[in-house]
């Protein structure tokens, strides 16, 4: 059974259709990269999965359980909270909480959302995650004392602390200086090697090629082409994919 099945997602803003019927599925342990130009709907798709936007049409199924159905009655806030935890989201702009240290950022949500939090256990997990992110010596720093790359790694640890089934990345390196993208990509690569189930929206073509099990190319709110990195990035069949990739290599 696929871990995630997305069927026929539609989403419009002010009568402008952004997603026009998106369907795909993925298995546990896979990493899927979504590529495409700005405005193709990649970010909106991630936001739909994380319940930051409500699709107008379509269903989202995780582990065989339909967690969203546009035709079902609207979900209550507590249902949304429970269901969105299947997913984690790492933002382009990190969105760390400035008044908390790196460690506190990672611990906050597990601490305040649990019924009877085991703070010691939560702290151990948080420390371990930050170590895994290569931030052992930065745990007690506040976000403004960290570089962009370090902040983004804290954000990844923060998302992992809630043990999501599927971790989503929304252009995780687009807000970083070029010399800082490497450290973040390295961490994500490490997660892929550990078979973390991930969806990565990215403009880093060679990274998408190396890390993903599957690549999805989106354009104009539809999936134009999907397949293995070799199929989509090396040997695209569709004209639009070829044009998009050609634009990349000429840059």
């Amino acid at each position: 059974m696929p871990i995630l099945e997305v069927k026929d997602i539609h989403k419009s803003f002010d009568n402008e259709a952004i997603l026009k019927g998106i369907s795909f599925s993925m298995d546990a342990g896979e990493s899927v990269s979504i590529i495409g130009s700005s405005g193709s709907g990649k970010t909106t798709l991630l936001r739909c999965l994380n319940f930051l936007e409500t699709p107008d049409e379509g269903t989202i199924t995780v582990h065989g359980e339909k967690i969203f159905d546009a035709h079902a009655p609207a979900l209550k806030p507590e249902e949304i909270r429970a269901r969105r935890l299947h997913f984690g989201l790492v933002f382009q702009q990190f969105n760390l909480f400035p008044q908390y240290t790196a460690l506190e950022n990672v611990m906050l949500a597990p601490k305040i959302t649990a019924e009877s939090p085991d703070v010691k256990q939560i702290e151990e997990t948080a420390v371990k995650l930050l170590e895994q992110m290569g931030l052992s010596d930065r745990m007690n720093n506040y976000p403004h004392q960290l570089s962009g790359g370090q902040q983004q790694r804290v954000a990844i640890a923060r998302a992992l602390a809630l043990k999501p089934d599927i971790l989503c990345f929304d252009e995780p390196t687009s807000a970083l200086d070029p010399e800082l993208t490497g450290e973040v990509l390295k961490v994500i690569r490490g997660l892929a090697e550990q078979k973390t189930t991930m969806i990565i929206v990215t403009h880093e073509m060679s990274f998408a090629h190396d890390v993903s099990d599957k690549v999805i190319f989106m354009d104009g709110g539809v999936i134009v082409e999907q397949g293995t990195p070799a199929e989509v990035i090396e040997h695209p069949r569709e004209e639009r994919t070829k044009q998009f990739l050609a634009g990349y290599s000429s840059n």
């Binding site: 969105r84 702009q93 969105n95 760390l96 909480f97 906050l108 959302t113 506040y142 998302a159 809630l162």
Partner: protein, 218 residues
């Protein structure tokens, strides 16, 4: 004479501080509620509150004091405040609380709306409730941002309390002025300025301290 005047002014200043402190205590929470109302999606809540804020910020506080104190008697034939000093003080307090909640609500609104939407979204995807996001993520950031405009407004409040004398609320200016009639001297009135200066000086130090306390994050 100097000691007599100082003691009398100190007594008046007690009234000033009482009005100041009670206004602050009541209008800070009320202002927060008004700010939520003025950001409410529902027009039936938002428009009346925005209208109230417009009226209160658009008319002089002195006029509001007079309307609130004399209004009920003139329009409904009942002086709900009574003629006692306590009644007049209560009327002044009501006017100050309404006036300052409206100003505070706008400062709160500015502070709340200046928090990037990403902070809310980060809280949401981490499974926090709206309440948790407000109290655990947003509030301290809002407080940090509104300390400078708040300190401005609060120092203004110290001096605005002197307006209460238009409905004969005993405060320091009232007592200072009394010496003109009773002893034919004007310097006690000028001397009141020193009390305001010292008090707002202390407040300035306090706000500086808070600002410094909150400078550990950006």
């Amino acid at each position: 004479m100097f000691v007599t005047v100082t003691l009398s002014l100190l007594e008046g200043f007690l009234g000033t501080i009482k009005l100041f402190a009670l206004t602050l205590l009541l209008s800070l929470p009320l202002g927060l509620i008004l700010s939520f109302g003025s950001m409410e999606k529902l027009g039936v809540i938002r428009y009346p509150i925005r209208f109230l804020i417009w009226v209160i910020r658009g008319t002089p506080l002195m006029l509001q004091l007079l309307v609130i104190y004399y209004g009920p008697g003139i329009f409904f034939g009942v002086n709900i405040w009574g003629g006692s000093p306590n009644g007049r003080f209560t009327a002044a307090l009501v006017a100050f609380v309404i006036n300052y909640s409206c100003y505070f609500s706008e400062i709160f609104r500015g502070g709340i709306q200046s928090i990037p939407v990403g902070q809310y979204e980060a809280g949401q995807v981490l499974g926090m409730t709206k309440r948790q996001i407000f109290f655990k993520v947003v509030l301290l950031q809002v407080i940090k941002r509104i300390v400078p405009p708040m300190s401005n407004e609060i120092i203004t409040l110290v001096k605005d309390t002197s307006l209460a004398r238009v409905i004969a609320v005993y405060e320091i200016i009232w007592n200072g002025q009394a010496f003109i009639k009773s002893s034919g001297i004007i310097w006690p009135l000028f001397y009141t300025g020193a009390f305001y200066l010292i008090f707002s000086g202390l407040l300035t130090l306090l706000f500086g301290y808070i600002e410094k306390k909150l400078s550990y994050f950006r």
